[in-house]
């Protein structure tokens, strides 16, 4: 097995009295889709914040593509090739859809794209997430689903190698869920590695090559989706009687 694209080694994060992450070890293989699941408060978003550079870890390191990321500011980490979405969607509200993508495109890439290519690339990214017809509207006027699409578009605009998706699928209807899953598979087919936090089991089972389970800031299980669904530890901590439904899931 080749070296992981990104690895989190012994990362702990303490907030005043609370130990949000406790010596977590995660290895993400290039080109794969890995899911992180766990009950609320397990530390999943905190882990994303540490990887993206929004929070420095209390201990441990994050390595990406052979480079140590811990201690770097978020804007540098973005330019290194990692971008993200947020659990509660955070677009640039007062800016147009187009400008939301443009910011990421002009600032978030390893190297700035040539002037002439910018507009065309913005349009292409918006077309990919089916937001072309909304490009002139302010982000705050979009529907929740459209906002999620914008989150994805903005993250894709930086030409990331690793995409951190925080509950992108949560709150969507079954049809919208299927649509988003197809989109994410298309993203992955382009070679972009995906690390996603999700509660929607259909998406976790349907998309992931590998599932990691966090509970109270610790990794308690890791493996193929089907194996995780049957793991008694995990079931006890999180899945409860949803396990039956999972075993039957496609």
């Amino acid at each position: 097995m080749s070296a992981p694209l990104m690895s989190v080694q012994g990362v702990s994060k303490r907030f005043a009295g609370l130990l949000a992450l406790n010596r977590v070890e995660v290895a993400v293989e290039a080109g794969r889709i890995t899911s992180i699941i766990g009950p609320n408060g397990a530390g999943k978003t905190t882990l994303f914040n540490v990887i993206a550079g929004d929070e420095p870890p209390t201990a441990g390191t994050v390595t990406f593509d052979g480079r140590t990321l811990t201690g770097l500011p978020p804007d540098e980490i973005c330019r290194a090739g990692i971008s993200r979405t947020y659990q509660s969607v955070r677009p640039f509200h007062g800016l147009s859809v187009r400008n939301n993508v443009r910011v990421a495109l002009l600032f978030g890439r390893k190297s700035r794209p040539p002037r002439a290519a910018v507009e065309e690339q913005v349009e292409r990214t918006l077309a990919f997430v089916h937001l072309s017809h909304q490009s002139g509207r302010r982000a705050e006027t979009l529907t929740p689903l459209e906002r999620k699409r914008l989150e994805l578009a903005r993250a894709l605009a930086t030409e990331p190698r690793l995409l951190l998706l925080d509950e992108l699928i949560g709150g969507l209807t079954p049809t919208e869920t299927q649509e988003m899953m197809d989109t994410l598979r298309a993203v992955n087919d382009r070679g972009i590695t995906i690390l996603l936090i999700e509660h929607v089991m259909k998406a976790v089972m349907g998309l992931s090559h590998r599932v990691i389970v966090l509970h109270h800031g610790e990794k308690i299980a890791e493996g193929a989706p089907q194996a995780i669904a049957r793991d008694p530890f995990v079931i006890r901590a999180y899945l409860g009687d949803a396990a039956e439904r999972l075993a039957a899931a496609p």
Binding site: D54, P73, D75, S83, N99, V103, R154
Partner: protein
């Protein structure tokens, strides 16, 4: 929405205004000197409001200390003038001093957010006032700084007008640039902007330094024009709050906003002043209250006004 170029008929009124302003000094009116002086101050205030709005409107940091750069410019030019340095040299020095000061304070001050930032910058004004007051030997203290008098009404009129135009052009250019986009993203959500590669510290510093060029130049010119400055005036409460009020009243974040706000507030001030003997301050206060209650986005964003401005090609897309 397709943007049509403004029709000739739509440009008639604004065109006439601009022509009138340019031609004023040459009109055979008796009171033209008075109007020139009035307008000169108006151009000055508008320039201050415009340059303030680069940081206040585009970047979203309400910099109540903007006037510090004006005062620095005023004293730098004044002191150098008395040492024999010609105006141009003085102005260049003013701009350099103000810019250097901005670069210096940007790192610590921009670590502050929101109300903290505004108050710290406001305290800076007071601080500069006191420091200038106490450095008697250099600045003349509270008795003020005097320079050689001269009739400078005519050149001052055109120079301040030109600087105002330059300030507006700068706002327009920055707003459309990559720097401007970075600034707006910081205004909307600084944390997210950073996450998407925006080098926030550097952009904020750049924005601040750019915003200091105009007030520094205006400050130096002000000394040259008025011949006498003192700390209470150039670092004063009124002069500090006025650009902010004018920019917000007119429409913060829009190129035309500060000009509209200045025209409105300054015009109102002159109207009230000449009409009433008492309670002018109260009436000004009433206007400010009404603005706050009814016009959050400023005059330029009121439905009817917005449409008219768009038709004239004066309102850019600020999203």
């Amino acid at each position: 929405m397709r943007r049509h170029p403004p029709t000739l008929r739509a440009l008639l009124l604004p065109g006439a205004v601009v022509l009138g302003v340019l031609a004023l000094p040459w009109l055979p009116a008796d009171s033209r000197i008075y109007y020139m002086q009035e307008l000169t101050m108006g151009f000055l205030y508008a320039g201050l409001a415009q340059s303030y709005d680069l940081v206040g409107g585009l970047l979203g940091y309400i910099n109540l200390g903007h006037i510090v750069f004006f005062g620095l410019g005023a004293y730098t030019t004044g002191i150098l003038f008395n040492l024999g340095v010609p105006l141009i040299g003085g102005l260049a020095a003013s701009i350099l001093v103000a810019g250097a000061f901005a670069a210096l304070i940007s790192i610590p001050f921009f670590r502050l957010r929101g109300a903290y930032f505004s108050l710290a910058t406001f305290a800076l004004v007071k601080l500069m006032e006191h420091v200038t007051d106490n450095l008697r030997d250099l600045t003349g203290g509270s008795s003020g700084l005097k320079i050689l008098a001269g009739n400078r009404v005519l050149p001052m009129y055109y120079v301040t007008l030109a600087l105002l135009a330059a300030a507006m052009a700068t706002s327009w250019a920055v707003g459309r640039s990559r720097l401007g986009l970075g600034m707006k993203s910081i205004r909307e959500d600084e944390g997210v902007a950073r996450d998407f590669g925006v080098p926030t510290t550097r952009i904020k510093a750049q924005a601040l330094v750019i915003s200091t060029v105009l007030p520094a130049a205006l400050g130096g010119l002000f000394t040259w024009y008025i011949n006498f400055i003192n700390p209470g005036e150039v670092f004063g409460l009124k002069l500090a709050l006025q650009p902010v009020a004018m920019a917000m009243l007119g429409g913060s974040g829009l190129v035309i906003g500060p000009l509209i706000g200045t025209a409105f507030l300054y015009g109102l001030e002159e109207l009230i002043w000449t009409r009433f003997e008492f309670l002018q301050g109260a009436m000004l206060g009433l206007v400010v209250v009404l603005v706050g209650l009814f016009m959050p986005g400023g005059i330029a964003r009121l439905k009817g006004v917005e449409r008219a401005l768009e038709r004239l090609g004066l309102k850019e897309d600020d999203s």
